[in-house]
C-alpha cells in the first residue's frame, strides 16, 4: 500500500496524466459531444479538412448505397492503386488497400489477387455496417493510397507508420511516431503491438520508444535504432496538427498524420479520446504541458488575443521542444 502511494506521488510529480484526469479535465471539458460526428466519420473529417485547406489523402469517391456500387469503375477510373475504407470503422478493420492491377483483377498490398466482384462484396459489407462500431449502416470511401516516405523503411514493418500529435485548443503539446510491427499486423495502433516513439516538438528528432508499456530504443523486427531519426518536414506536421482545432472545434484531440513520399504530410484521421501511452514514448507527463498551455490561454483571454496556428506552434515548440536526452 505504501509502495503504491510512493508511485502515486512520483507519477504526480512527473505530471503523468491518468484516464480519470484525461476524461474529466480534457475530454469532457473541451470536447463537445455534438462535434463528435466530425471526427467519428472519416468522410465528414475529410470534407471539413478540404474546406479548410488542410492536406488529406485525395478522396476519389464515396459510396453510400448498394445502387452506387455500380459507380465503382467510374470512381477508380484508370488508377491502379487506391484504398477502400469504412467511414466509421475502428481499429483499421475493413480497410482494403489495392496496390496494383493484374490483368483485369486487382492485387492487394499483401499480394493477394482479388476480383472485381470481391471488391464489390467488401463494399457491400461496409455499407451494411459490418465494420462500424455500433453496427449501423455505414458509407465506404475510396481514396488515395499513401506511400510512406523512404525514411521509415528501416524502422517499420509493413503497413504505414503514422504520426500522432495531441492538440489542446490548437496547441500541439506532444507528438509520437507510431511504427507497425510484425505483432501489430501492419497496424499502427499501440494496443495492438505497434511501437510509439516520442518526437521532439521543435526539431522533429525522434526520442526513445514505447512498446507494450515498456521503454525501448530499437525496433523489435528490424533491430534498427528508433531514436535520433530526423522526421522530414516537421514544421509542416506541426502546422497541420495545430490547424485541426479550427477544423473540428474539439479542444482536445489526437491528430493522426502520415508522410507521403510525394505529397508530404497528410491528415488521416482525428481522435477525440487520444490514448495516454504517448507519455511513455516521450518519457514526459502530459499534465505539465497541458497546464502550461491552459495558463497561456488564460493569459491570452485576459488580453483578448487569439493566436494563429503558426504562433501556437512556435509557442509550444519553444516551451516543450529541444529535449536533451541522457
Amino acid at each position: 500500500m505504501f509502495g503504491f502511494w510512493k508511485t502515486w506521488k512520483a507519477l504526480e510529480a512527473k505530471g503523468i496524466m491518468g484516464i480519470n484526469r484525461r476524461n474529466a479535465d480534457y475530454v469532457l471539458k473541451y470536447n463537445k459531444r455534438s462535434l463528435y460526428p466530425i471526427v467519428d466519420d472519416k468522410i465528414i473529417t475529410k470534407e471539413r479538412a478540404i474546406a479548410a485547406g488542410i492536406d488529406v489523402p485525395e478522396l476519389y469517391g464515396v459510396i453510400s448505397t448498394e445502387k452506387e456500387i455500380e459507380k465503382l469503375d467510374d470512381i477508380i477510373g484508370g488508377r491502379s492503386d487506391f484504398v477502400i475504407k469504412p467511414a466509421q470503422g475502428a481499429g483499421g478493420d475493413g480497410i482494403l488497400v489495392i496496390a496494383d492491377r493484374f490483368e483485369d483483377r486487382f492485387r492487394t498490398v499483401s499480394g493477394k489477387i482479388i476480383s472485381h466482384e470481391e471488391i464489390e462484396h467488401q463494399i457491400s459489407s461496409i455499407l451494411t455496417g459490418l465494420y462500424s462500431l455500433g453496427g449501423h449502416r455505414d458509407r465506404a470511401l475510396i481514396e488515395y493510397r499513401v506511400t510512406p516516405d523512404q525514411i521509415f523503411k528501416s524502422i517499420s514493418y509493413e503497413g504505414v507508420p503514422d504520426i500522432r500529435i495531441i492538440v489542446l485548443m490548437g496547441y500541439p503539446v506532444m507528438a509520437m511516431l507510431r511504427l507497425p510491427t510484425r505483432q501489430s499486423g501492419g497496424k499502427a495502433n499501440l494496443h495492438q503491438g505497434a511501437i510509439g516513439v516520442g518526437v521532439d516538438l521543435a526539431t522533429g528528432l525522434t526520442l526513445r520508444g514505447t512498446w507494450l508499456n515498456s521503454i525501448i530504443s530499437k525496433h523489435p523486427d528490424t533491430t534498427n535504432a528508433v531514436d535520433g531519426v530526423q522526421l522530414p518536414n516537421w514544421d509542416g506536421f506541426m502546422k497541420l496538427a495545430a490547424g485541426c482545432y479550427e477544423l473540428c472545434g474539439l479542444g482536445y484531440i489526437g491528430v493522426d498524420m502520415v508522410l507521403d513520399q510525394d505529397k508530404g504530410p497528410l491528415i488521416l484521421e482525428l481522435n477525440a479520446r487520444p490514448g495516454l501511452n504517448i507519455q511513455i514514448a516521450n518519457n514526459c507527463g502530459l499534465t505539465l504541458r497541458t497546464h502550461a498551455v491552459e495558463a497561456h490561454l488564460a493569459e491570452l483571454a485576459e488580453k483578448g488575443i487569439q493566436e494563429t496556428p503558426e504562433e501556437r506552434v512556435r509557442f509550444t515548440q519553444e516551451l516543450f521542444g529541444h529535449i536533451h536526452q541522457q
Binding site: 508511485t7 484516464i19 480519470n20 459489407s125 521503454i215 511513455i280
Partner: protein
C-alpha cells in the same frame, strides 16, 4: 469551470446532509433498529378439506381449528370457500369452523389457512383443569386385567406424573397378557389411548386427548395424538406411544377431546390434508402485523408500507445502486476493465437466481460456447440483427439443454437457469467477440475475467443481508451514495492499474 465546481460541491453537501439527517432521524428519533437482529419464524399452515357432497342434501361440515390461546400468535387466518357460509365458534376450549351450503354436489374442496408465529411473552396465564374424575365402568375379564395392570403401576409411581407415564409404558408393552386382552388385537394409537384412559379413570386420574400438528415444513402429516392431564398447576403432556413427557416446542395444539377432526352432514369421504411452510420475517414487519392498530404508523411512509410482494422487488432494486457503486469503484479507482458499464451489475442480478458458483460455471460455459458459435458466424458475414438473433436463440437452446441435463442428473439447480437473463448473455457474447476481434484474445480474456470478477463482487456486496436491511429500511442512504458518485464524477487521480502501467517512467529515472 470554478462555478461548476462550486455548484457540484453545494449539491454534494446538500445530498450528504439530507441523507445523513434523514437516516439519523430514523435511527435516533423514531428508533428503528439498525440491524435486522430478530427474525422470527413465520408459519403458513394450509388445511385442505376435500369431500364429496351428496346431490340433494344441504351440506354442513365442521372442522376444528387451533384455539391459539397460549404459545402462538395468529397473524392472519382465512377460510377459502366459494358459496359456503362460514362461522367460527368456541366450544370447551376448542375452536370449530362450520362451513355450510344448501345445494352443492360433486367433489368439494375447502381451505383453511393460518399464518402464525411464536409468542415471546414471558407472562404465563393461569390455567385451570379437572383434578378428579369418575371411573369408567368395566367388568368381567377386562376389569381383572385392568386391576392386575394397575397394581404394579401404583407400586412404581410416586405422583400423578409418574403414574401416567408408568401407565403408558405398561400399555405399550404388547407382550403383557393383560394388555393383550384389553387391546383386543387393535394396537392403534387411538385404541391405546382409550385403554390408558380406562386405567387412569379407575385411579380417578383425569386425562384429555390432544391433537397436534408438527411445525415442520414441506412434509405431509396427520394430526398427532397426545394425552394430557392437569396436576393442579399445569397441564402435563404425554406421548401415548412412548410415555415421553412434555410437548415438544414444535407442536401446535389443534384441538382437544375425543371428537374427530371433521364431522359432516350431507356428504361423504371427508379428508383433510395439511401442508406447512415457513418463512422468516424481520422484527419490523412483524411488529407492524401484530400491532396493526397500535402506533406502527411511523412505518406507514417507509418501504414497509408496500405490499409484501412489492417489498421483495424493492429489496432487490435498492441494492442495484450499491452494485453500481462497486463497479464504479472497480473501474474508476482500481482501473479494472469490464465489458460495458452495467453489464456486471446485470450479471450480478442474474447470479441471484442461480447462486454464485453455479452462476459462474454457467456463465463461463454458455459464453465460451456462444463465442465459438459467434466466431463461426463471423465467416458467414451476417448483418448485426440476424447475427444477434441467432446467438440469442442458440443461448436459449443451450440453457434448455443444460436444464434438461441437470434435471436428468437430479441437479435441481440447473432449473434455475431458465430465468438466467438470456439477453444479458447474448449481449455479453456479442461484445466479447467484438473485443476479441478488435483487441485480441488476450485482451478479451482479461475483460471477461474482469467482468466476472466485478459481477461476483457486486453480487456478494448486494447480498449482504445486513446491508440489504439497512438500505431498505433507511433509503436515504441512497442520497449519500449519489453524493459519493457525484464526487467520483470529478475524480482526477490515478487508477490503481495506471500506477503499474506507468511504472516504466520511474524505472527510467533510477
Amino acid at each position: 469551470m470554478r462555478a461548476l465546481t462550486l455548484h457540484l460541491k453545494i449539491l454534494i453537501t446538500i445530498l450528504l446532509v439530507l441523507g445523513v439527517s434523514i437516516t439519523a432521524y430514523q435511527i435516533f428519533v423514531i428508533g428503528i433498529p439498525v440491524t435486522e437482529d430478530a427474525t422470527d419464524d413465520l408459519w403458513n399452515i394450509d388445511a385442505k378439506v376435500e369431500f364429496v357432497a351428496n346431490a340433494k342434501d344441504p351440506v354442513k361440515i365442521q372442522m376444528f381449528v387451533p384455539p391459539l390461546n397460549r404459545d402462538y400468535v395468529s397473524l392472519n387466518e382465512s377460510f377459502i370457500s366459494n358459496n359456503y357460509g362460514v362461522s367460527v365458534n368456541r366450544v370447551d376450549g376448542n375452536r370449530k369452523v362450520t362451513w355450510s351450503a344448501r345445494r352443492v354436489s360433486g367433489k368439494q374442496t375447502l381451505y383453511y389457512r393460518l399464518v402464525l408465529t411464536k409468542r415471546y411473552s414471558g407472562d404465563k396465564t393461569k390455567v385451570k383443569g379437572p383434578v378428579f374424575r369418575d371411573s369408567i365402568a368395566v367388568d368381567g375379564p377386562e376389569k381383572i386385567a385392568a386391576e392386575a395392570l394397575l397394581a404394579p403401576i401404583r407400586q412404581h409411581s410416586a405422583d400423578v406424573e409418574t403414574f401416567i407415564s408408568e401407565t403408558i409404558k405398561r400399555v405399550n408393552n404388547l407382550n403383557d397378557d393383560n394388555v393383550k386382552l384389553l387391546l383386543a388385537g387393535d394396537p392403534s394409537t387411538p385404541h391405546k389411548a382409550q385403554i390408558i384412559e380406562l386405567l387412569l379413570s379407575i385411579a380417578h386420574v383425569p386425562m384429555e386427548r390432544v391433537h397436534t400438528i408438527r411445525l415442520v415444513a414441506d412434509q405431509p402429516q396427520n394430526p398427532e395424538l397426545w394425552l394430557r392431564s392437569f396436576n393442579g398447576n399445569d397441564w402435563l403432556y404425554f406421548n401415548p406411544e412412548s410415555g415421553e413427557q412434555g410437548l415438544p416446542s414444535d407442536r401446535l395444539l389443534w384441538w382437544i377431546g375425543d371428537e374427530p377432526l371433521v364431522t359432516m352432514d350431507g356428504g361423504k369421504k371427508a379428508n383433510v390434508t395439511f401442508s406447512l411452510n415457513n418463512s422468516e420475517m424481520n422484527a419490523i414487519r412483524l411488529a407492524k402485523l401484530t400491532d396493526e392498530n397500535t402506533d406502527a404508523n411511523f412505518l406507514e411512509y417507509s418501504l414497509y408500507g408496500l405490499p409484501l410482494q412489492t417489498q421483495q422487488t424493492f429489496m432487490i432494486m435498492v441494492m442495484i445502486p450499491i452494485g453500481v457503486l462497486v463497479i464504479l469503484v472497480l473501474r474508476n479507482l482500481i482501473g479494472l476493465q469490464t465489458l460495458g458499464t452495467f453489464t456486471p451489475v446485470l450479471i450480478a442480478l442474474a447470479f441471484r437466481e442461480t447462486q454464485l458458483e453455479f452462476g459462474i460455471i454457467l456463465f463461463t460455459v454458455i459464453t465460451a460456447l456462444g463465442l465459438m458459435l459467434r466466431s463461426y458466424l463471423e465467416h458467414l458475414k451476417l448483418q448485426m440483427l440476424p447475427r444477434l438473433s441467432v446467438v440469442l436463440t442458440f443461448v436459449v437452446i443451450l440453457i434448455a439443454a443444460i436444464s434438461l441435463f441437470s434435471h436428468k442428473l437430479g441437479l435441481e439447480r440447473g432449473l434455475s437457469v431458465a430465468l438466467f437473463p438470456m439477453v444479458i448473455l447474448t449481449m455479453t457474447i456479442e461484445r466479447l467477440s467484438i473485443t476479441w476481434e478488435e483487441r485480441g484474445g488476450g485482451h478479451a480474456m482479461k475483460v471477461a475475467i474482469g467482468t466476472l470478477f466485478a459481477a461476483t463482487l457486486a453480487y456478494l456486496v448486494m447480498s449482504v443481508p445486513e446491508l440489504v436491511y439497512f438500505v431498505f429500511t433507511f433509503p436515504a442512504v441512497l442520497l449519500i451514495l449519489v453524493a459519493f458518485m457525484l464526487a467520483m464524477g470529478r475524480y482526477r487521480g490515478y487508477r490503481l492499474t495506471e500506477l503499474v502501467r506507468f511504472k516504466a517512467f520511474l524505472k527510467a529515472d533510477s
